[in-house]
């Protein structure tokens, strides 16, 4: 069965650089969530989209932005990277009206040096 696809899987950036993470949800899933997981931490919700509109906002820094496109894939744009942004970034998807269960992708490991 198709799963959530995230790219790239690993990314190394320097401080003050920008990064773009991509997420391709499971086909026919219309809702996408982004989570950040620091080392040894639980995942923290950043932002979510439903039908290309932002549906909820969590602890996403102002330096980050995201959007969902017409094909339902989503991109997380991160600017002025800081050392503390080093983390695993997960994307999850679900279909509204279905079960509440979210299906997580394998994550993108971002390292800021």
């Amino acid at each position: 069965a198709a799963g959530v696809i995230q790219s790239p899987r690993h990314l190394i950036k320097e401080k003050r650089e920008t990064a773009t993470l991509k997420c391709y949800p499971i086909p026919r899933h219309d809702t996408v969530y982004w989570y950040q997981q620091g080392p040894g931490q639980d995942p923290q919700f950043l932002i979510s989209f439903y039908e290309k509109m932002q549906s909820d906002k969590g602890s996403i820094p102002d330096r980050f932005s995201a959007q969902q496109f017409s094909d339902y894939h989503s991109e997380l744009n991160m600017s002025s990277l800081e050392l503390g942004d080093s983390a695993l970034y997960f994307c999850a998807s679900r279909t509204t009206g279905g079960k509440e269960e979210q299906y997580f992708g394998p994550g993108t490991r971002l390292t800021v040096t």
């Binding site: 959530v4 809702t31 969530y33 989570y35 639980d42 995942p43 923290q44 919700f45 979510s48 439903y50 549906s55 909820d56 969590g58 997960f90 999850a92 679900r94 509440e100 269960e101 979210q102 299906y103 997580f104 992708g105 394998p106 994550g107």
Partner: protein, 114 residues
């Protein structure tokens, strides 16, 4: 703020024993809970869920118990296997208005020894 959290950060069990992972929540309005398993380097994987109108729900080798009186839930894994070694999170979506964004509790690392 409202939180979902776990009592113990690590749990070590012998292969074949039963495991019990606990979780406390503070939002008495929470009506839906999910357990996720996260293996090293992978995304969280759904295990089982339970609604607040239930006290118990069983899956394959797993059982979730919900005690609304003390705002506590537990995940029981029967006949624990090495493949069960992972970090386990309980999570609750605050409400449907939030689009079901998950509020994760602190994970418990389960280590299964032979």
């Amino acid at each position: 703020g409202e939180s979902v959290g776990l009592h113990l950060p690590t749990l070590s069990v012998q292969e074949g024993d039963n495991s019990i992972i606990n979780c406390a929540y503070s939002n008495s309005a929470s009506d839906y809970f999910i357990w996720y398993k996260q293996e090293s380097g992978k995304g969280p994987q759904f295990i089982i869920d339970i609604r607040s109108n239930m006290d118990k729900r069983q899956g394959q080798r797993v059982t979730v118990l919900l005690n609304k009186t003390v705002k506590h839930l537990s995940l029981q894994i029967a006949a624990t296997q090495p493949g069960d070694s992972a970090v386990y999170f309980c999570a609750d979506p605050p409400n449907s208005n939030s689009g079901y964004a998950l509020n994760f509790g602190k994970g418990t690392s389960l280590l299964v020894t032979p």
